[in-house]
Amino acid sequence: MEYAYIFIILACIFGFFMAWGIGANDVANAMGTSVGSGAITIKHAIIIAAIFEFSGALLAGGEVTQTIRKGMIDTSSIAGTPELLIYGMLAALLAAAVWLLVASYFGWPVSTTHSIVGAIVGFAAVGIGMEAVMWGKVGTIAMSWIISPLTAGVIAYALFMSVQKLIIDTPDPFASAKRYVPIYIFLVGFIISLVTMFKGLKHVGLDLSTTQAYLFSALIGIGMALISKIFINRIKHEPSEDKDFHYTNVEKVFAVLMIVTACAMAFAHGSNDVANAVGPIAAIVGIVESGGEIAAKSALPIWVLLLGGVGIVIGLVTYGHRVIATIGTNITELTPSRGFAATLAAATTVVVASGTGMPISTTHTLVGGVLGVGLARGIGALNMRIIRTIFMSWVITLPAGAGLAIIFFFILKSIFS
């Protein structure tokens, strides 16, 4: 491979730029409900996002990265010409990044997941041939885009109803909140760590058995519940604040839960979306390292995930904080109790998708969660026109990503060969 290093360097530059874009643009959507519910300040949101997006990318980003890397293209048809895959992956990265830029410029909602998947399928189908696309797997991914918002909606509805039953609709909601919120926090910690550990942390030097995974997850959950209990006990009931709105004090307890949920959401987002940036890098590095052979079973180099995690954090710090600031600290219609239900539902769905290697849209999943709470009559007003725009965005994003990727593919091919 004569241009091997150029390819890797190019891939890293494009991939890093893409990660930067995710950090700059996408993280704000993931943090929207948490900041909007007023439970965390913008500054705290940025700190939480930086830490948990990075850990999510590094610890749980592997599966989806493998899917993007080699799950959608049948490489047997190009065994003799591996450079085609390199051009294609570079083109896909470039296409997704350019689309992210264009859409952000015009203020359209973007799904980085849809653009990268569209781009990869596009270059493979046109640049290599229809038979090069693993349509079965691509179909499963497309299905997951419908299932994920639905799942989040159902979970959010159930969470909201459980909150009503256990806390809000009781003789003393404040005392009930103090009692049950630590249990919810345990659940958040337990589920997120369990899914992460199940999928293996071998790449960071941790090899755990199933029993160990359960045990450690439970310990993490209990630890988080205990720590939060300290904070919750500090919250004093101020009867005067309940005069105008009777649940002001209760919502203060939920704010603690919302903070924990925000961490889970950032973790989930990092674990799923890092792949959109580094999946193609991993593919290119894999080909180059195996000396031009398209290795099907090579392990994922951890530095690739690291690069993605760092890229997201830099995007967040250099530009994303401004986008987060536009959320404002308060969406009056979104109190922490519903923000929590919608966000945890989304975070859980996304983390499970990350564990099974499904690249899904975090924003779509979060919107599904919010709609779930809305259907439970828990939100004052939802703007269906905006929600339709968000869901329709993928209709444009798929062909746009594909079209751009095809163009870049032929340009790169003519430059290097």
Partner: protein
């Protein structure tokens, strides 16, 4: 650049609806002062009080218009949009009716016969009580959203509506009493004056009716 997750939250109509009802309540409550002035035959106070009623009605009108504009189609709400808009119209009718009462009485320089005056004041106050009770019930709307229109909170509101209905039937009884006194004295009054007093009796009763209808609309919302 805008955050779509943020933009998907529309502005909730509950607080504005509560604010509107609060304003309507203030407007109608001014009628107590107005009738006291009428009974005391204090012209300056009558004029000033009618002026405040008009101003408060005007303010309520502004709130009504801005709320209507903030409720375009395509909003997903926890209650039906139709019910909300109907409720707003009924609330607004309370303010309109208050303005009509004060306007007519000022315009025709109406006086209340001594034999019905004290009872009439009670009648007005009881009608305002109905409006106050409707206001209290409407004020639970944001709590209803918090509880997803379920459980204890719904029972609390239902109880409030029950009280509202009781107050309304009180006003009906007082109205009957006033009418029976009027029947005895009406021949001694200038016929046109008597006719207009009957009209005011009717309108004050309508205030309580409207308050009750606001309550029943709220009950419909609970049941959605």
């Amino acid at each position: 650049m805008s955050n779509y997750v943020f933009r998907m939250f529309g502005s909730s109509p509950m607080r504005p609806l509560q604010d509107h009802m609060g304003k309507v309540h203030l407007c109608a409550a001014e009628l107590v002062n107005f009738f006291e002035a009428v009974i005391a035959q204090d012209q300056a106070r009558i004029t000033a009080s009618q002026q405040s009623v008009v101003e408060l009605e005007h303010e309520a009108d502004k709130l009504k218009k801005s709320l209507r504009l903030s409720l375009p189609k395509g909003m997903f709400l926890p209650v039906s949009r139709r019910d909300l808009l109907d409720m707003l119209t009924m609330q607004d009718n309370i303010a309109n009716k208050s303005k009509d009462i004060a306007g007519l009485m000022l315009g025709r320089k109406m006086e209340l016969p001594e034999s019905i005056a004290p009872l009439f004041l009670t009648y007005v106050k009881r009608s305002i009580d109905a409006i106050a009770q409707a206001d209290t019930a409407i004020n639970e709307l944001d709590e209803l959203v918090e509880t997803g229109f379920r459980g204890r909170e719904v029972k609390v509101v239902e109880k409030m509506i029950k009280t509202l209905n009781q107050i309304e039937s009180d006003t009906d009884e007082i109205q009957i009493q006033i009418r029976s006194i009027m029947f005895k004295i009406e021949l001694d009054l200038p016929p046109i004056d008597a006719m207009f007093i009957y009209r005011i009796i009717e309108w004050v009763g309508e205030l309580a009716d409207l308050a009750q209808r606001v309550g029943s609309r709220l009950q419909l919302m609970l049941a959605k």
